[in-house]
Each structure stands twice: as structure tokens, then as C-alpha cells.
Symmetry: C2
Subunit: 196 residues, 2 copies
Amino acid sequence: MRDRSAPGRPREFDDTEMLRKIMRLFWKSGFEGVSLSMIMKETELQKASLYAAFGDKRSMYLKALGRYHTDVVAAAARALKDTTLPAQERIKTFVLAPLTAAAGEDRSGCFLCNASADQSDLDAKTRAQVATGFEQLSDALTVPLTELHPDLDAVDLAAKAQALLALYVGFRIMVRSNIAVGGLEHAASQAMAVLR
Amino acid sequence: MRDRSAPGRPREFDDTEMLRKIMRLFWKSGFEGVSLSMIMKETELQKASLYAAFGDKRSMYLKALGRYHTDVVAAAARALKDTTLPAQERIKTFVLAPLTAAAGEDRSGCFLCNASADQSDLDAKTRAQVATGFEQLSDALTVPLTELHPDLDAVDLAAKAQALLALYVGFRIMVRSNIAVGGLEHAASQAMAVLR
DNA sequence: TGGATTAAAGACCAATTGGTCAAGAATAGA
DNA sequence: TCTATTCTTGACCAATTGGTCTTTAATCCA
């Protein structure tokens, strides 16, 4: 964030690393569910340092969401566009990701989905950032879909992409409750009917 | 909640009515997003009256979720089971409900879905109650699905039901962001491939 | 070495949080 | 009317909230 040879005392921590810790907190517990003291504990930074580096709590949240975008969303989008694997397999991996994660006891879900439920109603910037993330995933899904259906027009492709994204989001949310994951796997294979 | 001819001063408000107001607050803003003072303002009740009637904040939240269950979830389930309408139409109405609601500027989504994203990670009771709600909807979806596919076995029917539920949940969450609702309608019709 | 500049530490702040309590008010039955 | 019971009101509480400020420490460039 700052130049290494900037004047003054150098920062003793790595911005990105700390932001990732903050991201995991907001991801898991939402905006109001995370307090400054929790962030201080997790990052082992003083309040003033946090404010100097990232701004107020809202900015921290937004920056954390941005981190998620470049760390997680972008990676998922890249995987969807990676043509070295069969198109159908890439799509399946994406849609099943919520379930495989849940099988590994990971209930955190998807930060984007959680943020949409948690903060979209309150904060316009969050709402916009979430929409951007969703669009990026939807666009990425279009790539393998075009491989499967070279004949289909753009509108139908986009529609299929958003249907798959809705499934992904739905699974991500449902998995957070005590619902049986086993049943959802059957559901996913039924849902693959969208691919036809 | 209390008998009309109970001893002592009678309650000056209707429990259910107040609980509905509390429900709408938690629905919209989540557990941590709602403060006691907001509840006091909305219900026009004093803190102590609220505590006497509903218990602490957590109990209020759980009771509000219960209200949602009997008010909204049960109604949706009933509509899905209502055989006076064509099976396919009932399913479509259910899955499209998130989008028709969003078209009317209603961004609140679904309390069950929001609660799953918001509180499932933290509170076991919420997690269980959310799961029950999802199962009820999934079970209800099974009814019109059996009408469409009398030949299909129970496992496949349940799988289709959960796939449709995932779509519903996904739409509910996505709609909260700034995503274009128009696109989602095309997505929904593509997703109806699950019915085949 | 001496400013200039920036970061770290933690004391400090007003406001708000969820939650309780004591006093008065309204009812039913005796 | 009296008493038992329940409800309402609003003061009150400690703890925590997000956020600031001052002091001290570390670095760069001259």
C-alpha cells in the first residue's frame, strides 16, 4: 500500500495479510457480528493502527469484501474459464463447491452471499459490490456454457448462467443451517438438467 | 398467550401483533442489526414489557422466526399443496415469488434465508429452526412434483424438490443486491428444466 | 546529528448496548 | 373495599460499542 522507501516509521504489518484476517471475521459473522475488539484480537493490532490503515469499520468491511473478490471470486471465475478441463466438469465443480466445503465442516458459506443477506438492505456500496461479484461469476459461467452450447444465443446463455449461480448461492445459504448435505448432492445432480 | 380472565392487570397489547412487528425488524436487518431501542420504537412498548412478554433478545429473535414459520412458510407450503391449481403453475409461482416481490421494490427477501446467512453460524437453535423451515418447504414441493411425475421414486422427488428450493433461496439472496431482476426471470424459466 | 514524517500504544471519550429493578397502576376474586 | 396478581413506566446499571487523541518510537533525507 505504501512505498517501501517512504519517509517516516515503516508499517510493521502487511496490509493484505491483516485484511485477510478481517475478511474471515466479517465473512463468518457479518458486519454487526464483528466488533472492533474482535478485529484487534485477531489482527493483534491497535485500534488506531487499524483506522490509519483501513479507515472506519464500514471501510474495513468494504475492503474485506474487495479482498474476497480478488482472492476467491476471481479464482472461481478463472477456474470456470480454464479450458484445459471439460466444460461440464468445471460447472459441476463450481456448483458442488458449497457441498464439498460443507462436507469438510466448513459452514462459513460464501462471503458474497452472506453480505447480500446481511448488509445489502442497509448499505448501497455493499449492494453494488455484491452485484458486481455475482455478475462476474455469472459471466464466467457463460464460458463453459458456450462450449457446451455453441448454438445458443447470448440471452439464453446468460439465463442458464444465472440459474446455475442461483443454485450455487442457494446451496451456500442452505448449507449454513442444519440441513442434510447428503440430500443436497442428489439435488445438485437433478439441477444439472439446466445444462441441457 | 395469557388467559383473558387471568388475575392481575391485563396486558394492553396483542402479543402476536407485536411479535409480527419484531419479526419484520429482524427480517429486514438481522439479529445484530436490530437494537432493543429499535424494537421499543416500533412496538411502542417499554423494554420491561418486552422482556416480560418475550424474554431476552435471543428469544425474541427465535419467536420472530417462529412467527415467520407459521405466517409465511406455512402459507407457502399450503399453496404448494393446493391441488385446485395445476402442479406446474404452483411450482412456478413459488420459485418466481422472490422475483415478483423484488419487482415491487421489496428487498427484504426471505427471513429464513437471511437468518441462515446471518445467525446459523452462531446459534444452534436458529440453525435448527431454519433447517426445519427449509425441510417443510422442500416437503411441500414434493406434492406438486409427484403430480407431475407419479412414476418417480421418493429419492428423486426429494432431490428435485431441494433443487427447486435452492433456486428459490438463491433468488431470494441475489435479489437483495443490485442485480438486474429482469435477467433472473429468464434464469428462472431456464431453471424449470429441473421439472422434466 | 537533526528535523520531518509516519506508525504504534493505549488512555480516553460519548453514546449505545442488552438487561434489571422498584414504584405505581389496573384488574379479578373475596 | 381489600388483597393478590400482573402489567407499565422509567430510572438505572455495568459493559461494550465505534472512534479519537496524545505521547512515544522508528525511519528517511539532509
